[in-house]
Structures are given as structure tokens and as C-alpha cells.
Subunit: 335 residues, 2 copies
Amino acid sequence: NTPTPITIARGDGIGPEIMDATLEVLQASGANLAYEEIQIGESVYKRGIMNGMEPSAWESLRRTKVFLKAPITTPQGGGYKSLNVTIRGALGLFANIRPCVSYHPFVSTKHPKMDVVIVRENEEDLYAGIEYRQTQEVTQAVKLISRPGSEKIIRYAFEYARANHRNKVTAFVKDNIMKISDGLFHRVFDEIAAEYPDIEHETMIIDIGAARLADTPEHFDVIVTLNLYGDIISDIAAQITGSVGLAGSSNIGDQCAMFEAIHGSAPTIAGKGIANPSGLILASVMMLVHIGQAQAAEKIHNAWLKMVEDGIHTVDIFKRGVSKARVGTRDFAQN
Amino acid sequence: NTPTPITIARGDGIGPEIMDATLEVLQASGANLAYEEIQIGESVYKRGIMNGMEPSAWESLRRTKVFLKAPITTPQGGGYKSLNVTIRGALGLFANIRPCVSYHPFVSTKHPKMDVVIVRENEEDLYAGIEYRQTQEVTQAVKLISRPGSEKIIRYAFEYARANHRNKVTAFVKDNIMKISDGLFHRVFDEIAAEYPDIEHETMIIDIGAARLADTPEHFDVIVTLNLYGDIISDIAAQITGSVGLAGSSNIGDQCAMFEAIHGSAPTIAGKGIANPSGLILASVMMLVHIGQAQAAEKIHNAWLKMVEDGIHTVDIFKRGVSKARVGTRDFAQN
Ligand SMILES: CC(C)[C@H](C(=O)O)[C@@H](O)C(=O)O
Ligand SMILES: CC(C)[C@H](C(=O)O)[C@@H](O)C(=O)O
């Protein structure tokens, strides 16, 4: 069997340490992969490349079409555009999938029964960065919602639900205020939902929906929503499982896909060996499923779950030092 | 003493019953008020007045400048603009103040120590309803952030913090994406914060901020933010105190002010006598403070707190029927 080529980037802050841990786990799982490593983020910005990516990095991504990415840091201030957003746009990664599961009682949480997947539109909304200063005193930003963009993400959510034996898709919109833009998304949702009679559907206003999610996450199954609402509610959902450090995510396009932890590069704890690699490890599980290596994916997922259940990877353990946890992860993966 | 004239509206759904309860409480408290009642909402829409308000209602509001408003229902569908948003805009109510407090152990909550006040900008952002369908397939909405609007709400937040002996103001923005619009709000926040060295300040990205609020609300004191973010986080904050039914809010302008519960008109439980009047009662407390009747305000607030603490007004009680609770409320207010 020829190995599947994938592109990896170690990123900034805690990126390199959690990528090393993840690569060890992948190795031990028997995943059949050929790595192309690219440089992105801080080191590239420092060389004056304003978007944080070298041309050769884009070539690698267009070749392998699969990207396992550690968190990076975008410099503050004028001129820099978020590299995450640049990559999503350039590769047409229209769907951002964020499963948020609690691992009660192994990871402490106030919401023991949650198992929510957030399907976030990933290209439109206010993320195009179309903004202007009309006068010194007045700025405007433009929110874009299109029918093709809405159809694509909503259909993806229903297909995802069906493939993963999930029963309900909830849309979050604010169409009592944005009747045209969010109204379009709502209308498309109703149209597409009608094609999936086997799956329940409902719509909630984002403010009430976010409040219910924060309070009663077990009400939800799959949630599909606009880019910015999805950004906010996926952080909420991940956090209330007990730790944002446990969530992996995928960014899916027609051609390419990118897999990453949902947390950031956490520069303040970088290099201390205390970072939790779970988010990137679970992202690599999603990646293996995506490229058809389900067996290796299951092996890693089971080993990771067992470790969490054995109390080796709970919050206090993360504090005891990642080297121990890494060895543990690898050992379990080998079984 | 001449009574202070205020305008009231009974609203739709559960509106009339909770307004009746609130008026009984106000009466018992010794508040010195002269009521002007106006009709707004459903009954007015039915008479073909598309914005839900008669000219005479506007006249009353411009005369009394103080409005105690029960929840209303805006009809779904084209042509109707949210009446809440219309009133905020017409009366220049730039600040929406939403205190979210938990009453542990008297009201069951996962967050026993929260005491957060959300100061939400109330006129700008995507709420202007400037939207257009560019083609059949593409819609856009315009988000407006201005320096005067930002200065006004941010200064209000710091003044509020100082007047209410609160120690910290946190701003929520998304200026890693919206560098110009949210960036302006952030810059103005830093400028104004520098004028209040006695009050701590910090800024959070909205996704991370909302997640921390949902998980660890006791971290926060006063939060100031843009209209839409404020809409979302104030519902979250109110919900996780244990009940959205307990939160009152004020909408403050240079000339006028409006006081209301943050929950909606709940048509499904209307007329059953089971609605919880607490939100509107607490809104009326905010109103009394605003018009300088602090003594009556304190009387109601204390009576209400005592009732909650005596277990008369806990969630199970709301289910036992509001008439009992109302009598209870009045009895306590009279002491
Ligand atoms: C870093 C930032 C641009 C990004 C976003 O807003 O999408 C992040 O918050 C995320 O959710 O992946
Ligand atoms: C009803 C709606 C227009 C309103 C808003 O979005 O402001 C409500 O959600 C609120 O928070 O007062």
C-alpha cells in the first residue's frame, strides 16, 4: 500500500509539542501516511511574508489536499489577515465541523450528557473582512450570505447527521432582525430539511439558542449555523464540556480538508511540556476517517478514550507534565 | 409631591398578567407615579399600523420620557420591523443594561456566584436592518460601528461601574477579524478605560469571552459590548442564573428610558396564570431608581428578595400559579 501523502505544520506556541505527540500516536496506530512538512505562522511572518504562508506551502496543500495543522499565532495589528481565514478561503473549506462531547465522569463538567456537533459555515458572513472607514468617525463591515453557500453547508449538515446516525439538526439564525440575509439561510434550511424526512429539524433565534446551549446542551444534536454565530457557539460548547483542549475540528472543502485543534497556540505555556495534545490527536482521528483509514482512526480514538477513562489524561494530569501523558498515549495506541 | 408620570404598556401574551402583578407591587411600595397607558403590539398591528405603535403612543413617551413595557409579539414575516428595535431607535435608547444575578441556593443554578451586568450598545451594529438582495442568490447586511456610538456606551459602562461600586469592565469584540469596525470599538475602549484608573479593564475576543461567561461567569463584573454580541451574551448570562424569567433590563437614552423584562411574551403560557412576573418587577425597580424614587425601589427589591429566599418564588412555585405568588409579592411589599 502506498502511504497517503498529507501536509503538516508544527505552528507556533504549544504547536510543536502537541504535533510531536500527535505524530507519535499516528505512528503507533499503524496509519499509513507520508508527511510533507510546511512552515507557517510566526517564522514566516518574520521573514516579511505578510500572509504567513510561502508559495511552496500552498503547492504542498494543493498536492496532498489533506492538512494537519497545529495552532499558529497571527501578529496583532494592521496589515495582517488571520491565516486561518486565509487558508479556509484559499482552499474553499466551506464547512467547519466541531464535535463537542463531555467525558463525564472522567473529565469534570457541569454538563455530563452533552454530545453536540457544530457545523459552521466557514467562508461567508462577516469573515470576508470587507470593512471600510467611511469617515474618521464611522466604520462599516459587510455581511455576506448567499444561497449557494447556505445550501452547501446546510446540505452538509443533514448528510453528516445521516452518515453519523444523528437524529436532529437545529439551525441558529437571527432572522427577526436580519430578515433578508439570515432569512435566506432560514428559508434554505426549511427547503433542504424537507428532503430529509428521517431527520428532525428545528430553528432557533441565536440569542435563545446560545442560551439553551450554554444551559442545556443535551437538548442539541447537530447544529448548523452562520460563520460568526458558529465561531461563538462552538467555543461555548467546547468550553462547557470541561476543556477547550479536548476538541478537534475539521475544515472541509470540495477538494481539500484541514484538521486542527480548536484551541489556540497558548504562547504563555509553550515549551513547558504541559500542553494537552488531545485536540490535535482527535483532529488526526477525524483526518484518518476522512482519508479512509478508519481502522487506525478507531485504534487511536479507543486508546485515547481508555486513557481518559483510566484517569491518565484528566485535567490534573495535564498539569503533571505532558511527557508522561505522551508516553501513555503512545503505549495505549500500540495495544 | 406631584406623582412622576410614566407610560406603561401591557403588551401581548403573558404581558397583561405580569403587568398587573407589577402594578400591584408598585402600588404597595408607595411609589409616587401617575400612569399613562398606551396600546402597542398585536392589537395595533391588527388595525393595520405596520410599526405597532400609534402616534398618540409616541406622544405619551415623548411627554413622560419613562416607559415600563411588558413583552410584545412582532408578527412574523415581511414588512414588520421589530417594535423593540423601532422604539430603541426612535427614543435614542443607546444603552441596554442587563444585570444577571444568581440567587443560590434559592433558585437552582449551576453558577451560584454570578453577578454580572451586561451593558449592551443598543442602536448600531447589524440592528439598523440595512440589508439588500444583490441578486436572487446573494444578500448583504451592513454592520455600522461609529466612534460617537462606541464612546457613549463605553463611557456609560465605566460610569455605571463607578456608581455601582463595581471593579472591572470587560469589553467583548472580534477585532482579530473585524479590524476596522470592532477595532474602532476596542481602541475607544482603551482610550476611555485610561480615564478610569480606579476600575480594572480587559478585552476579550467574543468567542472566548462568551465561552468563559458560559463556563465561569463569576470571572466577570461589568461587560460592555456591541449590540449583537450583547444580545447573545445577555441571553446566555440570564439563562444560566437559573431562569431568564428573573432578569429585568433598562434601555437608557439621553432623554428617555424604557424598562422591561428580558424574556418574551411567551404566548404558549399566556392567560394560564403561571407566568413569573419577576423580570418586569425587577425592571420596575430599575425604573424607580432611575426616576429618583430609591426608597420605593429598595422596598420592592428587598421584598422580592425575601420572597425568593423564603422559597415562595422559586421555580416550583411559578408552576403552582401566579395568583398566589402575586398575593405573596404584594403582602411582602406592604411590610
Ligand atoms: C482565530 C480566529 C480567526 C478563528 C475564527 O474566528 O474563526 C478562531 O476563533 C476559530 O474559531 O477558528
Ligand atoms: C426581540 C429582539 C428584536 C430583541 C433583540 O434582538 O434585541 C431581543 O432578543 C432582545 O434581546 O431584546
